[in-house]
């Protein structure tokens, strides 16, 4: 049944091209709701024992002469990823309810990204997986280049070329696998013993290739610029789904097929992951643009995923998958607030400009959402981020104790930049003290008239919150959905971990 997520989403995209633009967002909503519902039902209806193996759900010969098959399969990991895809896709549509410019096309490209992502998570044939993986690249370009903001063409091109570069590396790895083993079926390939020499060079090529999309340091630079340039839904999809495609590919293909190569290189991956966590958090601390802060925070959080994968034990890898889910939800929420709730209303994302607007009073709901999202992002217990990161760190403690120490320091940085962004964007100075009083105090006769007007104007603005449109109903729905999910998973992570862990334990690379 889960296979229908792919068909429905592709179908919805095609239908969009031929219907009048009035109905396009409803079609998109309908499609994504269906996808979300199907993935939700599929995850919770399947018995947990069935989620351990990568079980075939559809298998049709496609290009028999080269051994290619249309072959879909599911286990706990792929169903979890399909669920986050469905959730982020649905909320992305809700947060793009106000898109008016070339509406049909917008939702067309958006649904293509979603459909391709479902495809990657469900594919059990390497060629099919790679096909879906590459299919996602070009729609992202158009989403950003046409509907984006700040420096959009540069950001779009950079993102596309980085993705394609990663794709080229993956291509080499897949060809090497195919030519050596003579098969493309993932379930068969897992049984195949690849020569150690191939694993030695094949693993880093494949893993780094996928890693480009996962934002592995130092190939992460597409992520912040891409996130900033993208429209709200684009950033949500990028951070929520597309970055997970890379991590998923690294896990499903690189690590699972080349276990020996993985063990040879796992320390290096951990090193890259830790550098990514700390470096991105430090950079985020110095950003002025709210979306840049969130963009770098995504890189930092994806570093946790890589660290979890590098541990090569069941706990760490399960934590990594949970972190993929959790970060998908939290990043989508953060970008929704920054892109849709703030930027569309205030037309600025500069933290300095936002800090004098007294937005917590003008947009209380947005402020509330951002507080929740920030708390989840910082890893406050009770939210999914904490559950995932603590699992990863426990796993990492067994493999790389030093990495945990450094990462611990990195988490302080994460808390620091998140709090800074939260404080400056919604709870700026003007709302902290009584504005009139401070203006009167500083407004003595000696100060220049220019600074006086500046202060009075800011004071005036803080007395009367800026005229902004109220938060709309679709935004509320989307935000509530995401907040509830991160809270539910945070309070009861077992609901997902129970489904992820058996699938992870079935993998070949566990020590």
């Amino acid at each position: 049944m889960i296979a229908w997520t792919i068909y429905i989403t592709f179908g919805g995209a095609l239908v969009l091209l031929f219907l009048p633009r009035v109905v396009s967002r409803w079609i998109a909503l309908l499609t994504t709701v269906a996808g979300f519902a199907i993935s939700l039902i599929a995850l919770f209806q399947t018995a947990i024992v069935d989620l351990a193996d990568f079980k075939t759900i559809a298998r049709i010969p496609w290009v028999p002469m080269l051994g290619m098959e249309y072959h879909l399969a599911v286990d706990g990991i792929s169903l979890t990823m399909a669920l986050v895809t469905g959730l982020v896709a649905l909320t992305a549509v809700l947060f793009s309810w106000d898109v008016e410019h070339r509406q049909n096309e917008f939702f067309f490209w958006l649904l293509l990204v979603v459909a391709g992502s479902y495809g990657v998570f469900l594919s059990a044939d390497l060629f099919l997986l790679f096909l879906f993986y590459e299919l996602v690249i070009v729609p992202k370009y158009f989403l950003i280049a046409i509907w984006g903001s700040t420096n959009k063409e540069y950001g779009a091109m950079k993102l596309t070329l980085y993705s394609f570069f990663g794709g080229a590396l993956v291509f080499i790895g897949i060809l090497a696998i195919y030519v050596t083993a003579g098969s493309l079926d993932l379930n068969q390939l897992v049984q195949f013993q690849f020569p150690p020499q191939l694993q030695l060079w094949g693993f880093p090529v494949l893993f780094l290739g996928f890693g480009v999309l996962a934002g592995v340091w130092p190939l992460h630079t597409w992520a912040p610029t891409g996130h900033v340039a993208a429209p709200t839904a684009g950033s949500m999809l990028l951070a929520g789904i597309v970055m997970k495609l890379g991590a998923y590919g690294g896990l499903r293909v690189a690590m699972n097929l080349f276990p020996q190569g993985f063990h040879m290189w796992s320390t290096w991956i951990a090193v890259l992951a830790v550098i990514g966590i700390v470096y991105a958090a430090a950079v985020a601390l110095r950003q002025c643009d709210l979306k840049f802060v969130i963009g770098y925070s995504s890189v930092s959080h994806m570093g946790f995923v890589l660290l979890g994968l590098a541990t090569a034990n069941a706990l760490g890898v399960s934590g990594a998958v949970l972190q993929m889910f959790s970060h998908g939800v939290i990043a989508a929420l953060l970008f929704a607030v920054a892109g849709r709730m703030l930027y569309r209303r205030t037309h600025t994302r500069e933290l300095d400009a936002l800090s004098i607007m007294n937005l917590s009073r003008a947009l209380p709901f947005a402020a509330f959402t951002f507080v929740i999202a920030s708390a989840a992002s910082m890893g406050i217990p009770g939210f999914s981020g904490f559950a995932a990161e603590i699992t990863i760190l426990v796993g990492a403690w067994k493999a790389f104790p030093i990495a945990v120490w450094i990462t611990g320091a990195g988490m302080v940085l994460v808390a620091a930049f998140t709090l800074r962004a939260l404080q400056q964007s919604f709870f700026g100075e003007s709302s902290a003290t009584t504005p009139v009083g401070s203006a009167a105090l500083s407004g003595d006769a000696k100060s220049s008239s220019a600074s006086l007007t500046l202060i009075t104007s800011s004071a005036e603005r803080s007395i009367h919150p800026p005229e902004v449109a109220p938060i709309t109903l679709p935004e509320k729905w989307g935000a509530c959905l995401l907040m509830l999910t991160t809270l539910a998973v945070g309070l009861y992570p077992k609901v997902l971990l129970d489904r992820i862990q058996p699938a992870v334990e079935a993998m070949t690379f566990l020590k």
């Binding site: 002469m65 080269l66 070329l161």
Partner: protein, 488 residues
């Protein structure tokens, strides 16, 4: 061998000759020459396909001068189909001032293609090459009102005739060494011969002529001007039909005729032979074509440099050799030809409406004609190798064949280079699409969206070609299985 049987086996060629003559006569006498001539030409080509289908499975005439095999028949049909689409595109081009002559030249070039594809003997191959070449030189220079067209024709002619001279000289050397001109017979002789300097010179010189035809660097210098300056349908035909036939023949020459001299292009294990030569041509074409294409601002010139790069990718299959490699090469070049005819079709429409084919003339095409813009997106993305389009499968097939051929992934260096090249290529194809989809249309009120829609036939042809690229990407088996089944 009686003449009746000869006529029967050569009936496709005969039909095209008759059609060419008929078109020439009608063009001179009729008032409504444009429509009538294209109709006759299209009809003649359709009949020719029928005649090819009626041919026996296998036959050999005059020691290989005319050979009928499933492979030859398949590629005759593909070449005729490409000519057919070119005829339809030519109907509304400016060059069709003298439609009779133009279409007659096109049909003569088609005969050249059919002779090239259908022969396994050096003399006949050379005749086919010359017939094709001479017709194409004229077609390139056909637009008398355009200085660029004359330049294109002259450049193409000068480079082409020099290359032909090289090939003829190479053929004569090989004839001198082996005493025969049949490919299979040459192969037998070479099997016992050692690599002598004279033989090496002969082989390399023969290859040069074909490197020119497929526009592989460093023999590509004619391509940018010919693609840009020639009338659009001529450019389309040079880029598609001529290239497909050249690859078929080149493959037969190296894989059948020069089979014993294969050598090896594996990293650290190079063995002298023709495959290192082709590998060098391929690597140079990929690098040079892609890098120079980055700097272009004219769509046709960009397509020319990308053609150089694609010649490089396609050669990969021949370097790999074997049934798999040849089949991958043939699949890729066919898909490429279909894509290019379509892309040139879009260029033709835009050129007719805006009067140019620079990037600026394409800006905002999306606004005026979503259909054409969508088709162009399919063509460009297929060239870049984005799934689910045919170019993606073609690359996968090609690269996997190349990787499988070398011992211990010996050709990995070339595959990696080709992938690096396609990474570069994505940038410039995306720039074209950016101009079409993202940039605002020029504020030129004289352009009416209707003028993009005026020619229904042309739009139909472009749509069919775009659909073909999509279908061949989703169901590549339809063509790939046919090709591999037709290979011995």
């Amino acid at each position: 061998m009686n003449y009746l049987e000869l006529l029967k086996l050569a009936s496709p060629e005969a039909i095209v000759v008759i059609t060419a003559l008929a078109v020439l006569v009608v063009g001179l006498t009729s008032d409504r020459a444009v429509i009538l001539c294209s109709f006759i030409a299209a009809l003649g080509l359709a009949l020719t396909v029928g005649a090819v289908l009626m041919l026996p499975h296998n036959a050999t005439l005059f020691g290989g001068m005319l050979v009928i095999t499933p492979l030859n028949s398949l590629f005759k049909i593909i070449c005729i189909a490409l000519a057919f689409f070119t005829v339809l595109l030519a109907r509304s081009d400016r060059a069709s001032r003298n439609p009779g002559e133009y279409l007659a030249m096109l049909l003569l070039a088609t005969i050249g293609l059919m002779l090239l594809v259908g022969s396994e003997e050096f003399l006949m191959i050379f005749i086919g090459l010359e017939l094709l070449g001479l017709s194409l030189y004229v077609m390139a220079a056909f637009d008398k009102t355009d200085l660029r067209s004359a330049e294109a024709g002259l450049k193409y002619f000068l480079f082409g005739s020099t290359a032909s001279a090289f090939t003829l000289f190479g053929i004569s050397l090989i004839y001198g060494m082996s005493g025969t001109t049949g490919l299979a017979a040459i192969s037998e002789k070479l099997a016992t011969a050692s690599v002598q300097p004279l033989l090496a010179v002969g082989i390399v010189m023969t290859l040069i002529g074909f490197a020119f035809k497929i526009a592989a660097a460093p023999f590509h210098l004619w391509a940018p001007d010919a693609y840009q300056g020639a009338p659009v349908p001529s450019g389309a035909f040079i880029a598609s039909g001529s290239k497909v036939a050249s690859f078929v023949v080149l493959g037969k020459i190296v894989l059948v005729g020069f089979a014993p001299m294969h050598g090896s292009a594996d990293w650290h294990a190079m063995v002298a032979g023709w495959s290192p030569v082709l590998a060098a041509l391929s690597a140079l074409s990929i690098l040079l074509g892609n890098l120079v294409a980055l700097a272009q601002t004219n769509v046709r010139r960009l397509l020319a440099y990308s053609a150089v790069a694609h010649a490089g990718y396609t050669l990969l299959g021949l370097v790999a050799g074997g049934r798999d490699g040849f089949s991958a090469t043939l699949f890729y070049t066919t898909v490429y030809a279909i894509t290019l005819v379509g892309a040139f079709g879009v260029v033709a429409v835009v050129r007719r409406v805006t009067g140019g084919d620079d990037f600026a003339d394409f800006s905002g095409l999306w606004m005026h004609s979503p259909l054409l813009a969508g088709c162009m997106a399919i063509f460009m993305l297929s060239l870049a190798g984005i799934p689910p389009l045919a170019g993606f499968f073609g690359k996968f097939y090609l690269f996997s064949a190349a990787l499988r051929a070398g011992t211990n992934h010996g050709l990995l260096w070339l595959v990696a280079l080709a992938l690096f090249g396609s990474l570069i290529s994505l940038y410039y194809y995306l720039i074209v699409l950016k101009v079409i989809f993202v940039d605002a249309a020029a504020a030129d009120t004289s352009l009416k969206p209707e003028s993009y829609r005026s020619d229904l036939l042309q739009r139909g042809v472009i749509t069919v070609l775009a659909a073909a690229v999509l279908v061949l990407g989703i169901m590549p088996e339809t063509l790939a299985a046919r090709i591999i089944a037709s290979l011995p």
